[in-house]
């Protein structure tokens, strides 16, 4: 025996499915739109059957093919003629379709073999049997029924502590979207039952929404706009204001919800070209609800009178149904009855949750597995025997053959899917759903050959599932097909970009620049992207200083200098209409056409100026100041490498690097003599040399050098990991800096660019120094070292003496923060200051 666990609230307007597992109840959400509820509506539209919210759309326009509220007809011999099918359907068949659709909510994929289905307290035996029949037809092996007020009570009581000895009466007040039910409940000697009930099948939230239109909006419009027949034209099918009517229904519902949270809200809409703005207070809403809520309270009192009970005999009122969220309903109930109103759990899901609790303690006989026999013949005979047993439920299997054809890449907004079916396709239906829930064909009858147009979301992969169902609408799982179509991103006809296209942006922290990818290598043209950045330095109107938008082609991990500049736009202070302040926004729109023509649009938000440029990829622009900066940067880097190579006794690399340096230095004088307005080709020649040397320098040493640099990086990292826990000051800040460095580690380690590895190691080493200078034992040892220095090692030895005395005192009194500060002060007085003096003169591109 197995626990049923699944609960279903098969509602008049909405239905839900839940499951009890490990002490908790899960409410399954609709795979489409992730709502917890499914509209209890079935539409037989031309060629397809829709169940749920989508089925409701044609309800008023195509009532002969769309069915809602059929729960009220359960247990009758009513049949509905469906024009599109030219046949009759029964309320049981419609309920079966809703139950089958609910089974699709169970995302775990497990089969729902049994379920507890709730029914109204008012359901008679015929209606109850009809519900059970619908459940069995939906494929459940076992169906148990539970009255809705009992289910709701279970949900409430299981949510409370100390329920063991509950005894007495309470009420379940269920005010939903379209119906109202009230039930008097009792527990006597441990048994819970519905003593009495009453209800109105045409009273609910939808009436409240319409009340707002009828009693607030229509009088307001009539008074202020004097439109004749406004109400008639609004309410009439195909009336002049029919579109507005649907808009107002939606907006009234929103306003109603808002007024549950706040005291005032506004509704606005356009009426004959004029804007209408209407304030609605909670009090006004309450006036529209008065009569209807009062009706429900009268029914409540009727029940009590009928059963000769006073309000003092009732312990509490449990709230069920979305409309009980309205504060007025709660207040009125409390005020007019004096009974405690319990709203501790979600009233929209209470019934389904209670059904799952009930299901947890009910059992059914699961489908028997096929036992293995002595041999294959034995097994086969058992299988065929099971096949013959009509009482055994087996998953539908089929030898249906499907050939699907479609384009896996598309630039269109929809793509045609062609399906050819072979073998036993007759009588079966198919359904195609997009995985994100944005598309669902509903159940469509199979043909030998058919097509579906699949809508695609832009620039992304669209995954569809094609499912096939047998005559009983049970899914044939073996026939499932996945259809994946990528829209926009790839087009086999377009040409791919051979290298990354990047923009050079400032890395102020490291006084250098880095590349940010705009279009990735192999992205297919045309491409377009908008970048939003900040200006990283203030540029005064009329000044020489400028922002440089440098677009390069090459490796995104490389130094900007090693890449090919394909576009450069310079916006100087002279171009500005006002000062451009650091931190203000810059918007860059970059487009690369099919024939690789680059277009840029730069917009400076602060000055509201726009600069448009179109480039063919042959034009060059070189900014001399920036070129000088890059020159120094490369020169320093090569010089440092030469020192390192010599230190490591790696003479070959040192000699090669020295050659690069020599080549570079041949142009230094010339470059630093150049003025910005120089009209010769000199700057282009030097830019070319820089580019060539930078590329060659990056390749120096090949894989060996990269390996060595990676090793150095990892060594620096290990040092930090060992020393960070020992830091005595600013430990948290240092830890954060370290985590920040680690974030980019993957890119560093896969990089084939020595410069990136060197810079990353440099950052690690710099952090290591910071850690040491925040570690007391290190500071003390350095301090002792400073004490032993000769006076000429200090810039001002006399000035240092009192600091030494103060430091000694702080140390002996264990005032370590103060001591550290004194030692820092002493370092500033040293001739060879260990601290690097940062170059605040870094110009960069001006784009942060």
């Amino acid at each position: 025996m197995k626990s049923i666990n699944f609960g279903i609230d098969l509602g008049t307007t909405n239905s839900l499915i839940t499951k009890y597992e490990n002490g908790k109840v899960t409410i399954f959400k609709h795979p489409i739109g992730h709502k917890e509820t499914l509209a209890s509506v079935v539409a037989f539209r031309p060629g397809r059957t829709l169940v749920g919210d989508k089925a409701r759309e044609f309800l008023t326009k195509d009532p002969v093919n769309i069915f809602a509220n059929f729960k009220r007809r359960m247990g009758t011999d009513d049949k509905f003629y469906v024009v599109n099918l030219d046949e009759n359907v029964t309320p049981v068949e419609l309920s079966t379709l809703v139950l089958k659709e609910l089974k699709q909510f169970v995302y775990s994929g497990e089969d729902v073999e049994a379920a507890v289905i709730t029914i109204p307290a008012s359901f008679d035996t015929m209606q109850s049997n009809a519900t059970k029949k619908a459940g069995l037809a939906a494929g459940f092996r076992e169906v148990l029924l539970l009255q809705e007020p009992i289910a709701a009570s279970l949900a409430y009581f299981n949510n409370q502590e100390n329920n063991a000895d509950r005894d007495g009466y309470w009420l379940v007040y269920d005010l939903g979207g379209g119906t109202f039910d009230i039930a008097l409940m009792q527990i006597k000697e441990g048994e819970m039952k519905v003593v009495d009930h009453e209800g109105n099948n045409f009273l609910g939230g939808a009436d409240f929404d319409f009340g707002i239109i009828e009693k607030i909006i229509i009088p307001y419009v009539t008074e202020h706009f004097g439109i004749e027949n406004f109400e008639e034209e609004l309410r009439k099918n195909n009336g002049k204001y029919e579109q507005l009517f649907y808009e107002l229904i939606y907006k009234s519902e929103e306003a109603k919800k808002e007024l549950s949270q706040q005291h005032e809200t506004q509704i606005d809409f356009i009426l004959d070209g004029q804007e209408v703005l209407l304030t609605i207070t909670r009090e006004e809403l309450e006036n529209t609800l008065k009569t209807r809520v009062s009706d429900t309270i009268s029914m409540l009192k009727n029940i009590l009178n009928r059963n000769e009970l006073g309000t003092h005999d009732i312990e509490e009122i449990l709230l069920v149904g979305g409309s009980t969220y309205i504060p007025y309903v709660r207040q009125q109930l409390a005020q007019h009855t004096g009974i405690k109103v319990n709203s501790q759990i979600d009233p929209t899901t209470a019934v389904a949750i209670g059904a799952a609790y009930y299901a947890a303690n009910k059992y059914y006989q699961p489908e028997a597995g096929i036992e293995l026999g002595e041999n294959v013949e034995d097994l086969l005979s058992r299988i065929s025997a099971d096949d013959a047993d009509p009482g055994t439920y087996l998953h539908p299997a089929s030898d249906i053959e499907l050939i699907v054809s479609y384009s896996q890449m598309s630039k269109d907004t929809e793509e045609v899917l062609i399906i050819k079916a072979g073998n036993n396709w007759e009588g079966k239906t198919y359904r195609i759903i997009r995985s994100d829930g944005g598309f669902d064909t509903g159940f469509v009858a199979m043909k030998s050959k058919f097509t579906e147009f699949l809508p695609l979301l832009h620039n992304t992969n669209n995954l569809f599932y094609l499912r096939i169902y047998d005559e009983e609408q049970n899914e044939i799982k073996s026939a499932l097909k996945e259809i994946s179509i990528t829209q926009g991103q790839f087009n086999i006809a377009g040409q791919p970009i051979p290298q990354d296209i990047c923009i050079e942006v400032d890395d102020k922290e490291n006084h250098t620049t880095r590349l940010e990818v705009i279009f990735e290598k192999n992205a297919v043209l045309p491409q377009k992207k908008t970048l939003y950045r900040e200006i990283s330095k203030t540029i005064k109107q009329g000044a020489e200083d400028s922002i440089i938008i440098n677009i390069l082609e090459g490796d995104r991990n490389a130094r900007a200098l090693s890449n090919l500049v394909i576009a450069c736009i310079e916006i100087s202070g002279k171009d500005l209409t006002s000062d451009l302040i650091k931190g203000s926004d810059i918007e860059l729109q970059i487009t690369m056409s099919d024939n690789r023509e680059l277009q840029t649009e730069v917009f400076l938000v602060m000055t509201q100026q726009e600069f448009k440029n179109a480039f063919s990829l042959s034009e060059k622009h070189v900014n001399i100041d920036r070129l000088k900066e890059q020159f120094i940067d490369l020169e320093n880097e090569i010089r440092n490498s030469i020192k390192m190579f010599s230190h490591d006794e790696n003479d070959v690399w040192a000699i090669q690097a020295n050659d690069f340096l020599k080549e570079l230095m041949q142009h230094k004088n010339e470059l630093f003599k150049l003025k910005e307005d120089d009209r010769t080709d000199a700057k282009y020649v030097i830019a070319e040399v820089l580019n060539r040397v930078s590329q060659a320098y990056d390749k120096l040493g090949g894989e060996d050098r990269l390996e060595r640099l990676r090793y150095e990086y990892l060594e620096a990292k290990e040092y930090i990991e060992n020393h960070l826990p020992m830091a005595d000051f600013k430990k948290e800040d240092l830890g954060q800096t370290y985590s920040k460095l680690l974030k980019g580690e993957h890119q560093v380690l896969i990089s084939r660019n020595p410069s990136i590895l060197e810079k990353a190691t440099e950052k690690m080493n710099s952090l290591a120094w910071d850690i040491l200078w925040n570690t007391l034992s290190y500071i003390i040892s350095r301090y002792e070292g400073f004490k032993g220095l000769a006076p000429d090692e200090f810039k001002n030895y006399e000035g240092a003496k009192p600091i030494f005395r103060a430091a000694d005192q702080a140390l002996s009194n264990e005032r370590y923060h103060e001591f550290r500060q004194h030692v820092y002060s002493i370092t500033h007085l040293l001739v060879h200051n260990e601290y690097k003096i940062q170059n605040d003169d870094f110009k960069g591109t001006g784009i942060g």
Partner: protein, 103 residues
């Protein structure tokens, strides 16, 4: 996430009003920028206005105005469609609320 949806709905409504008042050009950059911010955080906003109505499109809920015919189009969008891209893929966060009419 609810706050994001509420924010997008307000943004969408403002955009619609600007279009109606012919002010959209003036705020074009700001509108695109806001759209970009949402997209960067994985939220895709889809406005189906002007598209042909489809019963298979489950990413919106439509009210049909007038007599339904073969050429129903979405003539008004009250709430936009919102998808969310995250580590689990793309999912529909909000269905659009639209009005469709025969044109």
């Amino acid at each position: 996430m609810d706050a994001n949806i509420a924010l997008i709905n307000q943004f969408f409504e403002m955009e619609q009003k600007m279009v109606a008042e012919q002010l959209a050009d003036k705020f074009d950059r700001n509108l695109r920028r806001i759209q970009h911010i949402f997209e960067a955080s994985g939220l895709i906003i889809v406005n189906p206005a002007g598209e042909a109505y489809s019963e298979s499109r489950t990413d919106y809920e439509a009210s049909i105005v007038g007599s339904p015919g073969p050429n129903l189009k979405i003539t008004k969008v009250i709430k936009p469609i919102i998808y969310q891209n995250d580590s689990q893929g793309r999912q529909l966060l909000q269905k659009g609320i639209v009005i469709a009419e025969q044109v």
